[in-house]
Amino acid sequence: MQQLLTTALTGLTLGMVYAAFALALVLIWRSTRIINFAQAPMAMVTTYVALVLIDAGLSYWIAFAAALLAGLVLGAAVERIVIRPVEGATHINAVILTLGLFIVLNAAAAVVFGSQYRSFPAPFGLRGFQVGEVNVALTGFGIFTIVSVLVVMGLLVALFRLTDLGLKMRASAFNGEVARLLGVRVSGMLTLGWALAALVGSLSGLLIAGGSLVHPAYMDSVVVFGFVAAVLGGLDSPVGAVIGGLLLGVSLSVVSGYVGSELVALSALLILMLVLLLKPGGLFSHAAERRV
């Protein structure tokens, strides 16, 4: 009972982080049809930005905001400098570019920040609370994780549903040519989309790092989990990504708690395989699958 509760709560918190990361992947996929594998090292770099600021004596919250801002800038810069030139070319080139960026950022971070493990502080407690005999493994930081991801998601939904800007972004993603004819600056919208995605990615990086150790490769497995979560949700739907993230978080937490943490990545692979074989459009797909 105790272990089941702990597993479920840990899974829920982790799932929220995976959901945020999957959301970042989906945002970019919807607008540019690229899976940005460099999302993981980008989030890693912004987390290091926060760590440097914290080590310099600034408060956690300033560092937190600075990291998110750095994510925004980094995302826009990557889109403008690296991705823009191959827009419209074969998609394989764009993916190779994101992988090149993956290697570059990982190596550059190791050169600049060092490749040793460094601890990252958390603004809230890392211990659960007691209810009678049972220890509830919902930590202060866990609650913060869940709340902050929910807030960011709420803001994104508001942006896309309620504002003019969101409508323009949706129009550019839906059909760039028509949107351009209607007077939307599509290229600017794409840049904004990448920037927002990188911001959400940075948030997940900060949340994973909180209260644990950071090193240049610490996000590498998260990109896999985020991708699996996004595929679970259908790769095209933000809501699906969130649900996929939560499902994946809980299942992986069960594997980690009852079988062994070494097999977490393997189970993610198996889940991905099962989804691709049984329901390739994601768990909630109802659109027609493409034949070729």
Binding site: W29, F37, G100, I103, P280
Partner: protein
């Protein structure tokens, strides 16, 4: 002679024989350290050759070839635990290839049903997942420390043959280098023939236009899975050679960086070109030493300098895609073609 040259199989076999002669010459005239480096180059080239067929000819991006190398390496390492190996080297390599083929078929079937990003993501997951298996079954697979590989001595007939040809004695590192290159040459001949054959044309057709390929009667899934399996087999072979060369098989040898590095080799040389894969593997083998030395000269610590090599790989990968998407070999071919066409065009406009 030109007629001989136009026969694909004959041409490839002739090239292979020339290659074999060059390999013997180079291996016999270089030091043990260089021999070891050349072994590294051989196994990287085998894996890169398989990957270039998959990515260049069939348009599937695999980020998990390091995992297939790990599968081949662990298979080979399990054979070389005791004093007396149960199988001769060829048998061990064959079993490693077979295991990689089986896993490759499963992954390939799952991913081939879908499009680009799915296969990239699935193979990425594979690259992250496979080292975990070695950690989980640490009793059998040695956990974090990995498995030590007892490399067998060169068999008597091989030592005699080598002495007969070159009048040199065979050392263990030289023996491994020969294994690597004798594995590479037939692999490349097979891959070159395959890419020129009906199968290769099928793969290209699937890459270029799926709808047209299907209308022409090509079974898309079958073509994709076959390409994936061939490519995985190469990676398995490469892994088995790597196990013998490195003499230890541990999870830390098969990180995501290895998979991405192989992709660098393929992109650098030129997608779909086997000679490009060879060039890429050469750069991967010899560049790190050079760059690390450069970093040490610039006053970086050893740990930092070691990261310069991947930094350079990544940067060149980005630059190649942005500036010369055809890679080294592809760009050279394009340049050659333009040079050939220029006089022809000039003549045409003069007339």
């Amino acid at each position: 002679m030109t007629k001989l040259w136009s026969n694909t199989l004959l041409r490839h076999v002739l090239l292979a024989l020339v290659g074999l002669a060059v390999v013997i010459l180079v291996l016999e005239s270089t030091s043990a350290f260089r021999n070891a480096q050349l072994t590294t180059m051989a196994y990287l080239a085998i894996a890169a050759g398989g990957l270039t067929v998959l990515t260049g000819l069939n348009g599937q991006l695999s980020l998990g070839h390091g995992a297939f190398m790990a599968i081949g390496a662990y298979t080979a390492a399990l054979f070389y635990q005791g004093a007396e190996p149960a199988l001769p080297v060829v048998g061990v390599l064959a079993v490693a290839i077979l295991v990689a083929i089986l896993v490759g078929a499963v992954v390939g079937v799952a991913a081939a049903r879908l499009h680009g990003p799915y296969i990239a993501g699935a193979t990425l997951a594979l690259a992250i997942a496979v080292p975990g298996i070695a950690l989980f079954f640490d009793g059998r697979l040695g956990g974090e420390q990995g498995l030590n590989v007892r490399v067998p001595d060169a068999p008597g007939w091989f030592a005699d043959l080598l002495y007969f040809v070159t009048a040199h004695d065979v050392t263990t590192s030289k023996y491994i280098a020969y294994i690597g290159w004798l594995a590479l040459i037939p692999t490349f001949v097979l891959l070159a023939n395959l890419s020129r054959s009906r199968v290769g044309r099928t793969w290209r057709a699937v890459r270029d236009d799926e709808v047209a390929a299907e209308i022409a009667g090509i079974h898309l899934g079958r073509a994709r899975v076959l390409a994936f399996v061939v490519s995985a087999a190469c990676a398995g072979l490469a892994g088995a050679v790597m196990a013998m060369a490195v003499r230890i098989t541990a999870p830390s040898g098969f990180t995501l960086v290895l998979s991405l590095t192989l992709l660098t080799a393929v992109v650098l040389g030129g997608l779909g070109s086997l000679s490009g894969a060879l060039i890429g593997a050469t750069l991967l083998t010899f560049l790190p030493q050079f760059v690390t030395g450069l970093g040490a000269d610039l006053g970086l610590s050893d740990l930092q300098a070691a990261e310069l090599a991947p930094l350079v790989y990544g940067l060149t990968m980005i630059l190649v895609i942005l500036l010369a998407p055809a890679g080294i070999v592809g760009s050279a071919r394009g340049w050659q073609r333009r040079r050939r066409e220029r006089p022809a065009k000039a003549a045409a406009s003069a007339a």
